[in-house]
């Protein structure tokens, strides 16, 4: 494979310039050397500007404007409102601010519970399945099914199961076990929080399972052998070797799970439709509803900006605490 001919494109051979690799006397031309990575990056850069940078700039600009349906065709002409949208969003004495605060706290509670349960189930399953046993490969594939199923197909099935009159959940709880006096509502009212949590955990834990499984492969066998020699039983090995070795994997995993769950729109949207019940009104749905139902895009943008600041803060704090003691990896 290495004996390839001179490239037909006629490009001069550009030497590698990996750090510390001083192989051979060849010194490629300076301009060439600096231009190439930028050329390779160009398509990605252009797209990043178009789909990320520009929307964020516009989003921030929108949050300072009175952007209603009248100005949609030409949003640049929308009147400037300064910080009014932000005041509107966080004025907790008004219905709008109050509902934003409630949605925010609901989302926080929901995220903590969902991420915790996903992590717990995923880690337990991965640790239990670390050693081979009969049917392990089959189970592993099976456990990935919730992850692979398209959100709308999976969540719509759950919504069928949560139907009051013809759903499986009430059939089991009420008809078969007699635990409730009358069939409960699951998709409206306070129960909706728990319904959403169950669906979210069902959909999310296989990702934790996948990541932890990958992380387990990196633990050297010798550690376990040494542990066994020292007389540590399986449970002790899990506590003393497996879990501590997973620390850096967990740091990444929990952050990713947090961001996904906190930002999740698909699950509540398919489960509840355009407006979620109060108890399960996650922030993404809330912003969607505030923007598209009332056509108050300025307020929606202000909420998005606040959400973005919050996520930046959380991620920053997380990175600060996890990167301490870890070597800087990259130039």
């Amino acid at each position: 494979m290495n004996t390839t001919a001179v490239p037909a494109t006629g490009e001069p051979a550009v030497g590698k310039n990996s750090p510390g690799a001083a192989r051979g006397p060849r010194r490629p031309g300076r301009t060439r050397r600096t231009a190439l990575p930028y050329l390779l990056l160009l398509p990605a850069l252009l797209l990043e500007i178009l789909i990320h940078l520009l929307p964020i700039v516009i989003g921030v600009a929108m949050s300072f404007k009175e952007l209603t349906q009248f100005y949609l065709r030409d949003w640049g002409a929308a009147p400037w409102r300064g910080l009014d949208n932000f005041r509107f969003a966080v004025d907790f004495d008004t219905p709008a601010g109050e509902s934003l605060l409630r949605s925010f706290t609901t989302t926080c509670l929901f995220t903590v519970l969902s991420v915790g349960l996903c992590w717990l189930l995923g880690t337990a399953a991965a640790v239990f399945m670390q050693e081979t046993f009969r049917g392990r490969g089959f189970l592993r594939a099976l456990f990935l099914v919730p992850y692979a199923l398209p959100v709308y197909a999976a969540v719509i099935t759950w919504s069928f199961m949560f139907q009051r009159d013809n759903g499986l959940i009430n059939h089991v709880l009420h008809d078969q076990l007699g635990l409730t006096d009358s069939p409960s509502f699951w998709l409206i009212g306070d129960n909706s929080f728990w319904a959403l949590l169950i669906v979210s955990v069902w959909k999310g834990w296989p990702f934790a399972f996948l990541i932890v499984m990958a992380g387990l492969q990196n633990i050297p066998k010798e550690l376990y052998e040494a542990g066994a020699l020292d007389g540590a039983g399986v449970w002790q090995q899990i506590r003393k070797i497996t879990l501590p070795s997973l620390r850096s994997v967990n740091q990444v995993l929990v952050l990713v799970l947090f961001l996904w769950t906190f930002n999740d729109f698909n699950t509540p949207f398919v489960l509840f439709g355009k407006s979620a019940p109060e108890a399960a009104d996650l922030i993404s749905i809330h912003i969607y509803q505030s923007s598209f139902a009332t056509w108050n895009f300025g307020a929606g943008a202000a909420m998005s900006v606040l959400l973005l600041l919050f996520l930046l803060l959380v991620t920053g704090v997380h990175l600060f605490f996890t990167s301490r003691g870890r070597k800087a990896t990259d130039a």
Binding site: M1, N2, T3, P7, E11, A13, G15, K16, G24, L36, P37, L41, A44, L45, L47, E48, L50, I51, H52, P55, I56, I58, M62, D74, A125, E131, A141, L142, L144, V145, A148, P150, V151, Y152, A153, I156, T157, W158, M161, N166, L168, L210, I211, Q217, N218, G233, V234, W235, V249, F262, N263, F265, N266, S284, Y288, F297, S304, L311, L312, T315
Partner: protein, 279 residues
């Protein structure tokens, strides 16, 4: 070493319960898709009163499912191909070269992954509407526009993961190719890409899956002709009836391709994750 009984029993109980939890919706999906409408409209039954495969024929009539299927396939496929191809170049540059702004680039790519889709939805919506008004290019409601919005999540992920995969390909391989007189692009496509195939497959599968399951952009950025499965599936609920048996049949039909593809390729995904993100 032999595991103690307590471990074996805990494992059995835990894995059995977990299997039940995982399989419950799958069972409901499969069994309900084989029930007549009266069955799914009245009290839930574990077993169908009469097996029928009618829903599998009706789903194509009740809503234009085939059209939605094609839309989803085109949008998810194009988003996947675009993001993987563009990410291969970008990841190669980041993995193999030192250049000014590299850290800024990687950090910005990483940070866009944490932004909620809703943040991009409103501005992109406005951009598309405005482009449509000024140039007459109808991005809003078009497949092209939807593909573009899907890149907001698939591109940063692909770049980020591919950097990890490319880093795990020994530098000596492509350095040898460069010494042999290959251009950098040739070294990339002859050496690095083949060596990173499992990672590229994993990234592609992942990008396709997320695009196939995306709901938010699909529900705002599509119209009657470009609607994807995510939105189309809502068509089985009418004012009078909710055709649950058809919904379940359609869900199964749209799930089988991705689930099968994922299970076939999950080996690569796990290998890839080990090599890439988790180090």
């Amino acid at each position: 070493m032999a595991a103690p009984r307590s471990f074996v029993w805990s494992r059995r109980i835990f894995l059995t319960l977990l299997t039940g939890f995982v399989l419950l919706p799958v069972y409901v999906m499969v069994s309900s898709s084989l029930k007549p409408l009266e069955d799914v409209s009245s009290e839930f039954r574990w077993m169908p009163s009469g097996l029928t495969i009618r829903p599998y024929f009706d789903i194509w009539e009740t809503v234009p499912l085939a059209k939605y299927f094609v839309n989803s396939l085109v949008v998810a496929g194009a988003a996947t191909v675009c993001s993987v191809v563009i990410a291969i170049f970008a990841a190669y540059a980041v993995s193999r070269y030192r250049f000014r702004g590299k850290r800024l680039f990687t950090v910005s790519v990483l940070s866009t992954q944490m932004f909620p889709g809703i943040l991009f939805l409103l501005p992109l919506f406005l951009i598309f509407v405005n482009i449509g008004n000024t140039t007459g290019v109808a991005l809003f409601g078009s497949r092209g526009g939807l593909i573009l919005t899907y890149l907001t999540f698939s591109l940063p992920f692909s770049i980020w993961m591919l950097i990890g995969y490319f880093d795990s390909v020994p530098r000596e391989l492509d350095e040898a190719a460069l010494v042999d007189g290959c251009g950098p692009l040739k070294a990339l496509f002859r050496v690095v890409v083949p060596a990173a195939i499992p990672g590229i497959v994993a990234v592609a599968v992942y990008a396709f899956m997320t695009a196939w399951g995306e709901v938010l952009f699909a529900s705002v950025m599509t119209n009657d002709t470009t609607r994807t499965l995510a939105v189309g599936l809502q068509g089985y609920s009418t004012q009078n009836d909710v055709y649950w048996n058809q919904i379940m049949a359609a869900s199964l039909v749209v799930s089988v391709p991705v689930v099968a593809g994922f299970l076939l390729l999950q080996r690569y995904l796990v290998t890839g994750l080990t090599a890439g993100s988790v180090k």
